[in-house]
């Protein structure tokens, strides 16, 4: 589906955005609720939410005077981004472990 073709898989590479994504995966939250759980301002939370929203990972719904954010219900973009993150982490870990395993034999590079 073309709509998902432009998902920026680097979105979850930012630790704060990942933390927001993970909080929202547990339950829908307002900006204020997210800010309580994170060492950043509400304004910073809003900025990250905008990136997540533009990336198709989260949606916002008005509830009274607040907006409640949640992972986008069809889940595709979030799912894709999440798995890409797993593989990036896993392959990085593999590379590091392999480097560590070969280090005694050859020392080079920085």
């Amino acid at each position: 589906m073309a709509a998902y073709g432009d998902v920026d898989l680097g979105i979850l590479g930012d630790p704060t955005r990942r933390a927001i994504f993970e909080l929202l995966a547990r339950r829908p939250c307002s900006v204020g609720e997210l800010a309580e759980h994170l060492p950043i301002t509400r304004q910073a939370v809003s900025q990250h939410l905008r990136v997540l929203k533009d990336g198709g990972l989260v949606v916002a719904t008005p509830e009274g005077t607040r907006r409640i954010y949640r992972l986008k219900p069809d889940g595709v973009a979030a799912f894709q981004a999440y798995f890409q993150r797993i593989w990036d982490d896993a392959l990085t870990a593999f590379q590091k472990a392999a480097d560590a395993a070969t280090e005694p034999e050859q020392e080079q590079q920085s």
Binding site: L71, K72, P73, D74, G75, Q84, L91
Partner: protein
């Protein structure tokens, strides 16, 4: 829309300073030693993750309490160049033995000189998992993601 939208195939790669035979053996034989322990499915913490070295072999994790939890099966076992495993976990992060709900992960090992190997990974047919419906249904409210993400979030927290 009657069918789940297709999810693009995911790709990853790494380059390791090992001959191809060694890289394949390290990837498969020491799987639990390098796999990030945060990414696991079982209820208890992961003690090890194992890949049985044969076609039809199991791919699974073992918890610190000795319990085992399936991730998938080995479809193609072609040392030292190619490995294909299924990853068949449903929206509750449990093993789903229906092959129609299995995504596939192919890992290719290509020599880049005698002492270096390029490892390329492809995770495909992810839409089969979504077509399995549970992930589709639960992601919006966080239900099925909770178990793994909570562990993940905790470790991310500890990282800071």
């Amino acid at each position: 829309m009657s069918t789940a939208p297709a999810i693009p195939t995911l790709h990853g790669s790494a380059t390791v300073a090992m001959p191809v035979e060694k890289a394949f053996a390290f990837f498969t034989g020491s799987f639990g030693s390098w796999w990030p322990a945060d990414y696991h499915i079982g209820q208890t913490d992961m003690a090890d993750a194992l890949l049985e070295p044969r076609e039809g072999g199991r791919w699974y994790e073992r918890g610190t309490d000795g319990s085992e939890c399936e991730w998938g099966r080995v479809l193609v076992w072609e040392p030292p160049h190619r490995l294909v495993v299924t990853w068949q976990i449903n929206g509750q992060w449990q093993y789903d033995d229906d092959p129609e709900h299995a995504s596939e992960i192919e890992v290719r090992f290509t020599p880049d000189g005698p002492e270096q190997t390029i490892v390329e990974l492809e995770h495909r047919y992810l839409d089969r998992l979504v077509a399995g419906q549970a992930i589709h249904d639960t992601i919006g409210e966080g239900g099925g993601w909770t178990a793994i993400l909570e562990t993940f979030a905790k470790s991310a927290e500890a990282d800071k």
